[in-house]
């Protein structure tokens, strides 16, 4: 399969994303709201606690952490499980199956197209807002490049997790419940609500063996130069490989079950 096929599929994703442009714009307007909330919340907590550093984070570090959390979130966003569920419920999955490229590349390229749109409309503006209003420093070249690599891996892990869950729809048909659980687990254990350094030690140790922190926390900490780069990227790569090996086998089993009748 040539790169042109991928670009073609990504174009479809971009077109679908532009259909939801008002949602993207609303999200862009609304995102600073979260930053403002976290800003005031942590300002009051730091003042009340009377400490300049809590769990290795100064107040400015916390603000930057949340700005980066939004940026990484826009890049890694995927709701492929929702698309798969929709295609199964409506009996449309045959469209992807008839293409000579395989289901996984079809959905991956499609989601990448959506994310290209997210990067332009949401991620870059928030990055600029972060620099201008929230004091986000521009990382030096090497950590910045490592950050870019890390968010690409993070996207592949997030997509892999969502895709694997989406394959569950071949058995269960409806998977909204599982999707809710997935979103919550990734957000909480990924460090979206609070940096993992605030977690109890046992939970931090458990978290190292789960994929969630590699989706959000690790890219942020790479940007902030708080974790060893090579080690972190290798761990992310290991999760990418592991997930796609599992997907390969599960997808084969799933496709065999497909009847194409919808609900």
């Amino acid at each position: 399969m040539s790169i042109n096929h991928h670009i073609g599929l990504a174009n479809i994703g971009i077109k679908v994303a532009t259909r939801y442009r008002w949602e993207a714009i609303a999200s862009l307007i609304a995102t600073p709201v979260s930053l403002i909330i976290y800003y005031f919340l942590w300002k009051s907590i730091f003042t009340y606690t009377g400490a300049s550093v809590i769990r290795g984070f100064a107040f400015n570090d916390m603000v930057q952490y949340y700005v980066l959390s939004m940026i990484v979130g826009f890049f890694t966003w995927s709701q492929v499980d929702g698309w798969i569920e929709n295609d199964i419920v409506n009996g449309w999955m045959f469209r992807g199956m008839l293409l000579p490229i395989g289901l996984t590349p079809w959905y991956l390229s499609f989601e990448m197209g959506i994310n290209v749109y997210n990067i332009v409309v949401q991620m870059i503006p928030i990055f600029l807002i972060g620099i201008v209003f929230f004091g986000l420093p521009i990382a030096p070249a090497v950590p910045f490049l490592a950050f870019i690599m890390s968010i690409v891996f993070a996207f592949l892990i997030y997509f892999g997790l969502a895709y694997l869950l989406g394959l569950g729809a071949f058995w269960m048909k409806r998977i909204q419940g599982l999707r809710k659980v997935r979103r919550m687990l990734v957000a909480f254990l990924g460090g979206s609500f609070i940096p993992l350094a605030f977690f109890p030690q046992w939970l931090q140790s458990v978290s190292h063996f789960l994929p969630f922190e590699y989706v959000k926390s690790v890219p942020i900490l790479i940007y902030l130069q708080r974790v060893p780069v090579i080690e972190s990227l290798l761990a992310q790569l290991a999760w990418v490989i592991a997930l796609y090996v599992i997907i390969h086998f599960v997808a084969k089993m799933a496709v065999r079950r497909y009847a194409g009748v919808g609900l």
Partner: protein
């Protein structure tokens, strides 16, 4: 009584539909409970590593969070479906069917829009609030508790207000789902006590976009007491906005063109 009866029927139908996919049904409830549980979990983590939010002990903050979950859960059950029913009907050009019925369109759609999906949120919010009240030895036979109940009810009224306003916008803009997203994002301000924000935001969240009525003022009335004049002061903006939302509904419904979008 016809509207509550209608709402009851809709819940029955919805439940039957959901039970057709039992595994999804059970996981959905667990997912919702897990989502609700994360708020208190983050609060516990914050309070175990810092002194917490100024003026709020952990139990007081859990009471605040329980109230927030309860009010938004009630909003989910009672009025969220209203918006989607209107939105989808307007988008497909099918809203006429509601106008032809011999019912008040607002009450009718509110009744059929009841969404029991939010009930785990309501139960969790109520349980968390009850737990915090027990920890705080709160006396429920008190003026403070009465004020709490009144303000929770007004918090739910605010949910009706916003949903009605956004749904009215569907008649003008057709595809206005993004406004719902913006509402929920702005509502995030209410997730933390008003005391953490600056004066300008406090004013905004009390009088212009009075979402602070969803948790801050009820919790404040219960924990520290509020004078009657202050209670009236925070209720009035919601009532004015609610009246404006009904006026807006009646005005915009005349603009409906059956064209879809």
């Amino acid at each position: 009584m016809k509207y509550p009866r209608l709402a009851g029927k809709m819940v029955q139908i919805q439940l039957n539909k959901d039970l057709a996919y039992k595994a999804n049904f059970i996981i959905s409830i667990l997912g919702m409970l897990l989502g609700d549980f994360i708020g208190p979990l983050v609060a516990i983590i914050i309070y175990s590593t810092t002194l917490g939010i100024p003026g709020w002990s952990l139990d007081q903050f859990l009471l605040f969070q329980g109230t927030y979950t309860l009010v938004f859960g009630l909003g989910h059950v009672l009025c969220l479906g209203f918006f989607y029913t209107v939105y989808e009907a307007v988008e497909r050009g099918e809203f006429d069917k509601y106008l032809l019925k011999p019912y008040n369109s607002w009450l009718y759609i509110m009744a059929i829009g009841i969404d029991w999906d939010g009930s785990p949120e309501v139960l969790f919010g109520a349980a968390l609030t009850a737990y915090a009240m027990i920890q705080l030895h709160t006396n429920i036979i008190s003026a403070g508790f009465l004020a709490y109940l009144l303000l929770v009810a007004v918090g739910v009224l605010f949910q009706y207000t916003i949903i009605t306003l956004i749904a009215s916008g569907s008649f003008l803009a057709v595809k206005n789902e993004a406004l719902m997203q913006t509402f929920y994002k702005l509502s995030d301000f209410a997730r933390y006590p008003l005391s953490v924000y600056g004066v300008g935001l406090r004013f905004f969240l009390t009088f212009l976009f009075p979402v602070a009525i969803s948790a801050f003022y009820p919790a404040e009335a219960l924990l520290r007491g509020m004078s009657i004049s202050n209670i009236v002061l925070v209720i009035v903006p919601v009532i004015v906005l609610f009246a404006a939302s009904l006026w807006m509904w009646n005005m915009t419904i005349r603009k409906y063109s059956s064209a879809g979008g």
